[in-house]
Amino acid sequence: MAVVFERTKGLTPISTHYCPGCTHGIIHRLTAEAMEELGVLDQAIGVAPVGCSVLAYKYFNCDMHEAAHGRAPAVATGIKRVLPDKFVFTYQGDGDLASIGTAEIVHAAHRSENISVVFVNNAIYGMTGGQMAPTTLAGQRTTTSPLGRDPAHAGYPIRISEMLATIPGATFIERVAVDSPANVRKAKRAIKRAFEIQLEGKGFSLVEVLSTCPTNWGIEPPNALKWLKENMIPYYPLGNFRDATKEEVSDGQ
């Protein structure tokens, strides 16, 4: 008899504050498991954001630093420049990273800051009560786009991975989703690869994880996964947008 699945040591035993069916819990697990498997938990410093995952510092079983809204990449930069041999990651939502913290993420990528970013995109501001996010889909109803997001008024949703992939310093950019067991396993591989890139000293890595918000979307958790698949993935296609470590190999051939 063998245990094939149990709770990772990368998370504290605390039960999270997340709503039922919120996939933050899955993404926390993947992040923590990747650190545990790479043996970096005792060398890790995580930076928590503002938003639903503001309390991430209570859940990751490693040193943690709570940042102001959007500033996690700058805080992580400060930490990494002091401790270049330690493992530094940020965990940020879409309001945090793609709106108020756009400058910080773009410039961290431009500097190819040797940090890893787990970017959770659920197309809404969860913590503040379901307002329109930069990633809210066209037509999607939120508490600040009650008639649905009108691109003529509020612009189109921002595709962070595609944008960051144009930056020379962005070593690894991949978009994954956690809507099915198969996709969750793929997400884990991407996060682990992103972390390895930092450990190899190869620079900035980011994994965008499409996630749900059953509460603020107003959709039951299992159906929220379907909504993600049917609505988000067509606009936010999954896949690797940049892997400069592979480009280096092909350039050399």
Binding site: L55, M64, H65, E66, G78, I79, R81, E104
Partner: protein, 353 residues
């Protein structure tokens, strides 16, 4: 060590490096740009890191990260840039981290001017960002003092786990004066066992944080901070007093303005007047103890500032109505002349007679 001639902003950089500062995150802004320029050249030679951030906001948040990881770290800016940094400063104060922030004040509000001013007094002494917090704020009046207080600022930041402001203005940043870098005695500072450096498997995780969702928990935190600020008030007030004994009138000023005030005082004393000077070295804590030294003979206080009058409010508070409190100032980058100060003093003395 022999004295060297240095520009104020560069002397700050050198003093910081000698104080063990190895990290500087900044953004160019007049009139303090010589500081990041100096750091960009000299910090790497000292084995440190200078990084030009994408914004003032990013710079202060890099300071937040570096400080949380246990480093001696500094940033510098001027009025509009310091306004942008307030978010991060509030977080750093809330999380009780040490760092040194230099503000070479210029005229405001808004984009204001690039000329010297002292109109960030309220911001410097009332926290500046959101929440119940205070910064220890030094206001040196010469390049030598700048050097001395930058070194002290790092020790005090570590001692109290609190950001420390060093406040100057365009004049002090730009002027060249001979300075001596004195070796400071090693302070007995507490270990940074709270720093996020990785657990190494040897301790539970450290968390750097300013979030307390439970109201009573946050209140306890604020009470703890207030107790710390009270200790700072008790132990860290600094001022210089000149000729208080028998003075009819005492000028209250700090920084560049105190130098002008001193000249005015000397001119009038040569004419037989009895004028004293109380120069603030700490803006916060406000040197109340200095005011306790005022002579019974002193009937009037004249506050001189390069602003429309900010410190004058604190002088009124500490004065408790005992003496006349008067104000003269110039703003917008105009430096008050000694003649203006003398004229105002004579006017006050005439009225009192």
């Amino acid at each position: 060590m022999a004295k060297v001639l240095m520009k104020g902003n560069e002397a700050i950089g050198e003093a910081a490096i000698r104080a063990g500062c190895r990290y500087f995150f900044g953004y160019p802004i007049t009139p303090q740009s010589e500081l990041p320029e100096y750091m960009s050249l000299h910090l790497p030679k000292a084995g440190g890191v200078f990084l030009q951030a994408e914004s003032e906001i990013a710079a202060i948040n890099m300071v937040y990260g570096a400080s949380g990881s246990g480093a001696r770290v500094m940033t510098g800016s001027s009025t509009p840039g310091i306004a942008l940094k307030q978010e991060g400063i509030s977080y750093i104060a809330g999380a009780q981290l040490p760092c040194v922030i230099v503000n070479m004040m210029r005229g405001g509000p808004g984009l204001g001017s690039i000329q010297p001013a002292q109109s960030d007094y309220n911001q410097s002494t009332r926290g500046g960002g959101g929440g119940d917090y205070r910064l220890l704020a030094y206001a040196p009046a010469s390049v030598q003092e700048m050097v001395d207080y930058v070194q002290l600022a790092f020790d005090k930041a570590d001692e109290y786990r609190n950001p420390v402001l060093v406040v100057g203005d365009g004049v002090i940043g730009q002027m060249m004066e001979p300075v001596e870098f004195r070796a400071t005695a090693a302070s007995d500072l507490p270990p940074k066992d709270w720093a996020t450096t990785g657990t190494g498997g040897k301790r539970p995780p450290n968390i750097i944080n300013s979030l307390y969702l439970d109201a009573e928990e946050l209140e306890r935190h604020n009470i703890h901070l207030a107790e710390k600020y009270n200790r700072i008030k008790e132990n860290e007030q600094r001022w210089e007093s000149v000729g208080l004994e028998g003075a009819e009138l005492v000028i209250v000023a700090y920084g560049t303005t105190a130098r002008i005030a001193k000249s005015a005082m000397e001119n009038l004393n040569r004419q037989g007047k009895k004028i004293g000077l109380l120069r603030l070295i700490t803006l916060w804590p406000f040197p109340e103890k200095g005011f306790a030294e005022l002579d019974e003979a002193t009937k009037d206080l004249l506050v001189v500032e390069m602003s429309m009058g900010q410190m004058v409010d604190d002088v009124r508070i500490v004065n408790e109505g005992k003496r006349g409190v008067h104000f003269v100032g110039r703003s917008g980058g105009v430096i008050p002349s000694t003649a203006l100060v003398e004229e105002k003093i004579l006017e006050i003395l005439e009225r009192s007679e």
